[in-house]
């Protein structure tokens, strides 16, 4: 009695649908089970009948003629082949032995040549590896030199840039001398230097009168863009000599300085000049 599972396997086998391990396992069972083998045979017969369910069609008559021609041609070749007798020549074993000896000699020579060529190739490989290593070392050395040169060049460039900036700055410096006004400090003299780029300046004053305790001198920068002079800060002078040397900054951005002025103001300075003007640039 064949169970459903084996009927299923037999059906799939008859249609060629079993594969891999399933196929191998079933064929093993098939070889040992005559009933199963008979079922497979029956199913194969039924399956083959399915050929009649394909839409009716016939090959061209030429195919039949072609096939029969092929049979005739094959038969002729077979017939011709049959009449040619072949007798082994007496010298054949000697020729075979000679051929074998020649082949052995040739193979031996081939072996020696191959070994020599292999050794040659190994030497060439070693040499090539050495050359490669040397080339790598040289490239590394050149890379280091190039890096160093690049660093030096960058530094030079930066120095040049700084120099150019300084020269540009110098060209734009505003330098002015300030002289006494109204004879209140006739010997007083000052020189002011203003850098528009840095927005700062230097003032050098000589022989200004000594200040009272509640007074300061205040520097002013006259920029045409502003209606009133811009505060440049307060300073004092040496009571003995009346000299001062200060670095100053304006309390607003300066576009251009038309004049410098120094006034006498109360201690700490004022936002707008109130006291007497003691020095003024030309």
């Amino acid at each position: 009695m064949i169970d459903d599972h084996h009927e299923e396997l037999a059906s799939l086998y008859a249609l060629g649908l079993l594969e891999g391990a399933e196929l191998a396992s079933f064929e093993q069972e098939l070889a040992q089970d005559p009933a199963l083998a008979r079922l497979v045979s029956e199913l194969r017969e039924s399956t083959a009948q399915l050929a009649f369910t394909a839409p009716a069609a016939a090959p061209s008559p030429a195919l039949r003629a072609r096939l029969l021609d092929e049979l005739d041609t094959a038969a002729k070749w077979r017939a011709q082949g049959n009449v040619i007798a072949f007798r082994t020549p007496i010298w054949l074993p000697w020729a075979a032995a000679a051929g074998f000896a020649i082949a052995c000699a040739w193979l031996g020579q081939l072996y020696v040549t191959s070994r020599f060529e292999a050794a040659n190739l190994r030497d060439q490989q070693t040499l090539a590896e050495f050359k490669l290593k040397s080339a790598n070392n040289q490239m590394e050395a050149e890379r280091l030199v190039a890096t160093h040169q690049l660093g030096a060049a960058t530094e030079q460039l930066a120095a040049l840039d700084r120099q150019l900036k300084a020269e540009g700055d110098l060209a734009k410096l505003k330098i002015a001398t300030l002289a006494s006004l109204a004879g209140n400090s006739p010997q007083a003299l000052a020189v002011a230097v203003w850098s528009p780029l840095r927005q700062e300046g230097v003032l050098n004053v000589e022989k200004l009168p000594a200040l009272a305790a509640d007074k300061d001198y205040q520097l002013w920068l006259v920029d045409p863009q502003y209606p009133i002079p811009v505060d440049g800060g307060v300073f004092t002078v040496d009571p003995a000599t009346g000299d001062a040397h200060i670095t100053f900054k304006a309390n607003r951005p300066i576009n251009s300085v038309a004049k410098f002025a120094v006034s006498l103001e109360r201690k700490g300075g004022v936002p707008k000049a109130e006291g007497p003007m003691v020095l003024l640039s030309q």
Binding site: L12, Q49, S60, L71
Partner: protein
Amino acid sequence: MKPAGNTAEMAATIERARFDAELFRRMGRSDREAFAQLYDRFSRPLFATALRILSNTAEAEDIVQDVFLALWEKATTFEPARGSAFAWAVTLTRNRAIDRVRMRKRRSELLAETTAEDAGTQPAGAGLQAGDELASKEQAGAVRAAVAALPLEQQKAVELAFFGGFTQQEIAEKLQEPLGTVKARIRRGLLKLRDTLGGRHD
């Protein structure tokens, strides 16, 4: 035509198988006339099968030519006890056609095409002798009736398996059914065909 499976039809089937076996025996002795007779008996269903699978007349003829040459060369190895000559020839044809389809990787497109309308196909029966043609028609009618008697879902599963060259899994995907259901349909369909067509030996 009565459905196959009755005594007369079974007797006719057995007689056909004996006759085919005799043709093979003669072919084994290089009998060219036996080959021609076998060609007249088998060429139409073999060609129709190859054409149904390949959907290409020239390729189907190539397959049929290869199969007949193989049958000629292997005629001496044929053993009637292992199955009928016709089943052997159909198996060779189907396997070669499916191999070719798989090689082309176009099987889904090919199946969708209609083979009966192929322009290069000869009218059915061309080149056959009257007796062979009649027997073939009767046989085809019986098989078609047996297949038509199957439930539709079994018909589809069996036809896809025979003509499609698909794997079990691919058939299940085509039918959008679980694999187990498809296997069961194929089993029931083939067993019923066997019972109807008289393939049972006992």
